[in-house]
Symmetry: C2
């Protein structure tokens, strides 16, 4: 049985020490956020995740969800009660607006808790996780009446939400949507169609399920310009707002899939279900992107979360399992063999994981702060800069974060050898669960195209220029410190690779957009390395200062410096290789006709 302990100390380090959240005390929502409050929230949320949710992860994978003959779905045993405790303790409401019953705390705190919950039980975390997307869309585009009707119950967790985009013939290309919304005399719409891959589409955890559904009105243009967003409750509401009659929407089947067995992935059948338009007609795509951005950040955090829990269990195994001897001679001659931990290749994998998870956490939490600052920073320039950076980095945190999260989970499984392949030890579940994060909410190739095709050119490259300057400045700031100079220099060099790659795309992507497409995935990974490198510069700077100040816990800060060096040594070289690949362009990528790929 795998174990989990929330990395509360590390999240606290990022929030209190690296981001120095106390400096934002004047901003709305940050007033009460003292270092002590941060510590309390992280400790308590971490304990809840580890003690209440984590024990259900392996059994939930084994049992899966059940669809009954009447179309109703039940989550694995224990999920309902664990969700109830989650609602009761308020962990879902941390960063949601106080106006609708949330706690109104900063997103950066909410993101930390999201990581813990996803590590503990990704399948369970996805039930309230999808609610988050629905809340974002209603907050941004819902009418005051819709907000008053749905938000308090969604935010409290009494009701949950879903996002209904995909159809059998329509994944990434939302212009292909066929679901129809026919206006009714009372101002509502009759929604008819089939949606697939609907996470948490039906279940027994909440009293009502509020589906946000993309559909087309009868005269809508036959493209992405003709999509509208609708809210479709599972149970229609009585006059007093309580759930009443069943609406015309039901789960047709649940998918058997590689992982996240504990989350019900549903085919949802809409049969003249009553829905209400959210926002303007034919502007559903914009509302969808609001849901999507929130969801993509959440999925990036899932990449981190599965890497983290896999890493913890690999550390435990490396410490306990004895096999072979250290290359430098027996480390524990009294035993018949040394622990795996002595082997450099095992240590390399553990260091890879440590270097990734700690900087990815810092990256995610920084993005959480950017969400806050984009909304409430007092200065317009600061808000815009935060928004620019966030837009640029969302595809990176999602695409790079989940690609690497899967790689790390796989490497941690590797440390367990054959025992990692056996289901009862749980390591293989982390890999299977991590796999979906590379796919949903926009496959990582789509993230790469979003980055290169939309985010880079927006506002004449303003966002990426801001990012370049930020990295250069922060690297330059620490180069006077002999402990940091070399690693900061290596990160600065990766920033140079990123600049060169950007320039290449600019020069070669205009004439032939396939040049941009053929390099997009590599570009996203270069930016991921630079982003994590920037995090290591920040963390190393903070750690060096803490050591200088003699604040105690010196082993912790020394480890940060060592891990920063490891990152510089073993992660940054890939940036140059990726740039060289990117700069070979699209010619050989696109040269062969379909027939050349056929097996003969």
């Amino acid at each position: 049985m795998p174990s989990y302990k929330a990395p509360a100390r590390d999240a606290r380090f990022v929030i209190n020490e690296v981001l120095n959240i106390a400096q934002y005390g004047a901003l709305p929502g940050f007033e009460a956020v003292t270092p002590d409050l941060v510590e309390t929230v992280l400790d308590e949320a971490g304990r809840f995740a580890a003690e209440v949710w984590a024990p259900l992860n392996l059994p939930g994978d084994r049992e899966g969800c059940t669809r009954h003959a009447d179309g109703s779905v039940t989550a694995p045993a224990g999920f309902k009660e664990a969700y109830r405790q989650f609602v009761e303790s308020g962990w879902g409401t941390l960063a949601l607006p106080a106006e609708f019953g949330g706690q109104g705390l900063p997103h950066v705190l909410g993101f930390a808790v999201d990581e813990f919950l996803s590590s503990a039980n990704q399948s369970l975390a996805m039930y309230p996780g999808l609610t988050g997307g629905a809340v974002s869309a209603l907050l941004a585009k819902g009418s005051p009446e819709q907000q008053a009707t749905y938000l308090p119950k969604l935010i409290s967790g009494e009701w949950s939400g879903t996002m209904n985009l995909t159809e059998p013939q329509c994944g990434t290309d939302l212009g292909l949507i066929r679901t129809r919304a026919v206006p009714q005399a009372d101002g509502s719409y009759a929604i008819t169609g089939t949606k697939i891959f609907i996470s948490a589409g039906d279940h027994d955890l909440s009293d009502n399920i509020i589906h946000l559904v993309l559909a087309k009105t009868p005269d809508a243009p036959d493209s992405t310009k003709g999509i509208s967003l609708f809210v479709v409750p599972k149970f229609l509401l009585n006059a007093d707002g309580t759930p009443g009659a069943r609406n015309g929407v039901s789960c047709g089947s649940i998918e058997h899939k590689m992982g996240i067995h504990g989350n019900a992935t549903c085919v949802m059948n809409y049969d003249a279900a009553t829905g209400y338009m959210v926002g303007e007609e034919n502007k559903g795509l914009a509302a969808m992107f609001i849901m999507m951005n929130a969801a993509r950040l959440g999925v990036g955090i899932q990449g981190l979360a599965q890497a983290e829990v896999a890493y913890q269990n690999a550390v435990t195994y490396a410490a306990e399992r004895r096999q072979g001897r250290a290359l430098t001679g027996p480390a524990e001659p009294g035993e018949k063999a040394d622990p795996l931990f002595v082997h450099p290749d095992v240590r390399r994998m553990l260091m890879d994981a440590k270097a990734f998870t700690e900087s990815m956490r810092a990256f995610a939490l920084w993005c959480g702060l950017l969400v806050d600052l984009a909304e409430i920073a007092p200065d317009e320039t600061e808000r815009q800069q935060a928004d620019d950076l966030l837009g640029l980095l969302i595809p990176v945190i999602k695409g790079y974060g989940t690609d690497r999260g899967y790689d790390i989970a796989t490497a941690m499984q590797q440390i367990w050898g054959g025992h990692g392949y056996v289901a009862e030890n749980g390591m293989e579940q982390f890999v299977r669960d991590a796999r979906i994060a590379m796919i949903y909410e926009g496959a990582n190739g789509v993230q790469a195209m979003d980055l290169v095709g939309r985010k880079l050119p927006a506002h004449m490259g303003r966002a990426v220029q801001t990012f370049f300057a930020l990295v250069d400045r922060e690297c330059a700031e620490v180069k006077g410190d002999a402990r940091l100079a070399d690693m900061a220099g290596k990160v600065e060099k990766t920033n140079g690779e990123l600049k060169a790659a950007t320039m290449w795309l600019l020069q070669h992507g205009m004439g032939n957009p396939n040049n941009a497409g053929a390099g997009a995935h590599h570009y996203m990974h270069i930016m991921g390395i630079v982003a994590l490198g920037l995090m290591w510069v920040r963390m190393a700077k903070t750690a060096a200062a803490a050591l200088d100040a003699g604040t105690g816990d010196s082993a912790y800060y020394e480890a940060k410096l060592t891990t920063a060096r490891y990152f510089a040594e073993r992660y940054t070289p890939d940036a140059g290789a990726l740039r060289r690949k990117l700069e070979t362009g699209a010619d050989t990528v696109m040269a062969l006709p379909l027939e050349a790929f056929a097996t003969a």
Copy 2:
């Protein structure tokens, strides 16, 4: 339902055109191997694999194996009949010695067929696959009587074999074996102990199962120097050689695991089972390595095989699934969307797969030829050189081949998007099945250490020097051809990276062996890139010559040239990055104590 078609044309290209197998016609076993025979064997074996075995792959995964109350095990429905047809058609006996009923054909042919069978159904292929290890051990170390008793039945497939090494406390470190072998008055041994992770440990496909078991005699040294090898039949043999009474060995349970559900992975309990020593007492490790080397080549081929079948299904989906538009404007304006195939990032993944599978196939088949030449080349120097290269490359084909095979299978699943995560489409099974190949028969970190710690220094580096010279010579040979010069130059450069990395290990691994350990995995991957690069040089040379000769099928040969260029552009840059990582040494890898990895 996924599909499979054996890449017979491509295997024929390698065997007949690249390796030019006809040139060895004077060697024993090669006499009858004309290009026509090669074509017939590949076509027929390919058809058998695709038509008889492949349809059972997905159902076998879903059903898994069943252990009954009496300890007996049945394979999934259809496996017994499919195995019977395999035995009847003789596909398992191709490269086995005619002396014991095999067909005595070259291993290079057997390897090609192994790929097809593993692609079609890895779980099923593992039943006769493990027999191969048992046959190798008995051929090398068995007494004439043991050979006469077991080999004909094992080779015909009426009986199957297993390898019993691992125990609960003992994986890589075979010195920790506890299974005991107590000599009996009749010259046999009573074997007692527990073996785990025994592939095909029990099942209903064959009339008897011949277990090869590592165990310790009572006075054996308590280390790897005290291990002996025993043959333990499931059914003891009657005087006439037919299976008789049940021996004291049985399956205690079968593992629930991530993949290869159709193969029974057993806990085997030996309770004073009757066994017979194979070879000399305390020399079991040497015999084990003979089994292992055969098995490791087979596992490397599994990496190729899963990548290949996943690739084929990704091509089909990319051609059929319509989503979005080509970046250069609609490719099929009459349709509502273009096929995925138009998207450069999809094409990049397909080209990655094509560049890998075709060169990995060439690599595997070349290793098959080296197995043959190491045994039967007329010239002692040639035999030694083949043996040197084979020893050097076995960890590479296993370690690099399965690491990359898994990556490719994962990328091919990615092309399917959400539909790749759903079990019924079969893509996720390829990933789960591919995952085990990185672990069993020596985890890939162990392969890397075998390469760096044993194979490199052997005979003062003779093998690697041979390899360096071979690559340089073959690159130089084609550089006069303008079509090949650039790609051969890039491969030559990766050979330079490999030489530099080798030199670094030599200079820094002596003083601190952890420097070798911390770079071993990177080193193995550099050599993998060089090895596949050498294959591309060979294949491009052959393709260019065929185009010059106007032999027809020019699209096929043009595609080889393009794919060779793609490999040079998108694979070789990693070699430099890997070398830079390797050259940072063990300092940061080994610096942190265990406590620094604990979650706080």
